[in-house]
Amino acid sequence: MSSAPLESNASAAVPDERGRFGDFGGRFVPETLTRALDQLAEEYELAKKDKAFQTELRGLLKTFVGRPSPLYLAKRLTDAVGGAQIWLKREDLNHTGAHKINNTLGQALLTLRMGKTRVIAETGAGQHGVASATACAHFGLPCTVYMGSEDIRRQKPNVFSMKLMGADICPVESGSKTLRDAVNEAMRDWMSSVENTHYIIGSVIGPHPFPMMVRDFQAIIGQETREQCRDTLDRLPDCVVACVGGGSNAAGMFYPFVEDDGVRLVGVEAGGRGTDPGDHASPLSFGSPGVLHGSYSYVMQDDDGQTCDVHSMSAGLDYPGVGPEHSYWKDTGRVNYIECGDDAALQAFDQLARTEGIIAALESSHAIAKAMTIAADMPSDQHVVVCLSGRGDKDAMEIARLRGETW
């Protein structure tokens, strides 16, 4: 592993006004949604420049979420690996236990700004559902969360939290009953309710302006990491690692480093139980460019363009598509995308719990696993930052089930 400058022509000045990151992105949705997307794009541009909006959001992130999240040196994990220093960006310590709240507060504020009176959201692992329910409870907005019935089974604690905060949960029984089907149902709701409802998409996916807007709300992760590295190390990290499902924590972490060629960026997809179609959720590693959920990006699809079923033990990564900016970063060579299987992620989950006393989300455990491998090949005076995107409390029951242990 070297930190030699990379040859990449990736730009931070994307997307263009049509929502294109290079060739990727755009808008592939029914005409019914166009006006709402235009309105959202316009309001978001105004909000970006509006000091009052930014001040309110920053204030909430500080006092309600608990930002900035710490950058923590995982000393015993580093010693166990025996290579570069491993740092954890502790998004798991945010209110609601993951990075998702950074985005939902921003979009809930926009909902109010647009005069809309109802929120819908999709969720996979339930972290975005909880973060949406939280933001809506905070602002007094009614919230409906679409969640696949398979994910409801896998992530019961989050389902209960959402209900406690007054959200309605709509179980989705179509297709694979996971995140992808939840997105479809939320989009269908929005087709009928678009006049008074905002759809808070939870990742850097969907039609323009969502991939850009969600990235911007999540970019605080990377911005803080830069500052914290400057303060603590007096330089930027050598390598930054994050897990990629739809890709919002990774987009938020990577984006502020995109033009720092000396910083190696690694995205970790869910390798599931093997490399055959249907056994993993790694469209950047094994998929091809296509259209899903309103944008053009890498996707797991068959020869006809039908979306393939995917698998990951972690509900938050169990998605056949990926945000269009990741496709752009892949094709420009700026980010290296690799995959990590279920078993390796579970081992990393255990190792982090035992060496550091941190129970990571299964999603984030994929990034931990690969960061350990990467750090092992680097000298001890170099630094790897991993985005610890969420905490693992929600996964305890599912891990017990996978291991045949009683809870």
Binding site: R18, G26, R27, F28, V29, P30, E31, T32, L33, T34, R35, A36, S174, G175, R180, N184, M187, R188, M191, S192, V194, E195, G290, V291, L292, H293, G294, Y296, Q301, D303, D304, G305, Q306, T307
Partner: protein
């Protein structure tokens, strides 16, 4: 103008129905290409897509079926997601569809801003690209869509997904009449039309009525291809009569 899902429950049934409904009074038929993730479709059509895909539907079946139908029959257009067209290749898709006897395509997730390349491919092949106007489309944009459309213009009656409705918006007639003053293209109305009563109300303001979920439901209720054909034929006959008497 009925809508059928290709391959629901199998491609032989779809073909049998298509052979018969022209004489029952259909002027044109929309052949829905099943897609795994349709955003604009309600539960009835979604379920029909799922049945077809579960029964091994492939895109090639739509082309093979088209080639087997009489060339002088009623015109057929496909309703197809851009995900499928893109994967097939824009030119490739149009060539194959045209060779199989299809007159055009309705692409519900291709917005006018993203349509330039495909519209050019369609124009070059003399293949219609039918675009959609909805109640949420601003008027200036409606004109822009009409100008880039060919064959006919598809007016979506409701703000929502496909499926039968008891009532349609009150301003629908006014909106369609305004659009008529802006374009020479025929204007057909779809989404939400449940039966002869709605058809009779809309017939005077439209050049065609697209009936999807109500047809698909009648196919799903049948025990075999013969009964499905009979169900659709008599329903199309009822619609025809209602339209002619309106």
């Amino acid at each position: 103008m009925p809508f059928l899902t290709a391959g629901d429950p199998n491609i032989e049934t779809t073909q049998a129905i298509l052979k018969e409904i022209g004489s029952a009074g259909a002027n044109l038929c929309e052949v829905g290409v099943p897609y795994s993730d349709p955003i604009a479709d309600g539960p009835t059509i979604q379920a029909s897509y799922q049945r077809a895909l579960d029964n091994g539907f492939r895109l090639q079946h739509v082309f093979d079926m088209g080639a087997k139908l009489p060339a002088d029959g009623m015109p057929l257009v496909t309703m197809v997601s851009y995900a499928i067209i893109f994967r097939t290749g824009l030119k490739q898709y149009v060539q194959q569809a045209k060779a199989a006897g299809y007159a055009g395509a309705i692409v519900p997730d291709l917005l006018v801003e993203e349509a330039d390349e495909f519209a050019q491919v369609c124009r070059d092949a003399d293949f219609s690209l039918i675009q959609l106007v909805t109640p949420t489309t601003p008027r200036e944009r409606q004109v822009q869509i009409a100008n880039s459309s060919s064959g006919f213009l598809y007016y979506v009656s409701v703000t929502g997904i496909t499926g039968e409705r008891v009532e349609l918006p009150k301003d629908l007639t006014d909106n369609v009449q305004w659009l008529r003053s802006q374009t020479d293209l025929p204007i057909c109305i779809g989404f939400g039309i449940s039966g002869p009563e709605t058809a009779a109300k809309l017939a005077p303001v439209s050049d065609g009525l697209i009936v999807g979920s109500a047809v698909v439901r009648r196919i799903a209720a049948a025990k075999d291809a013969a009964e499905a054909t009979e169900n659709v034929k008599s329903f199309v006959g009822e619609l025809r009569q209602a339209i002619d008497n309106a």
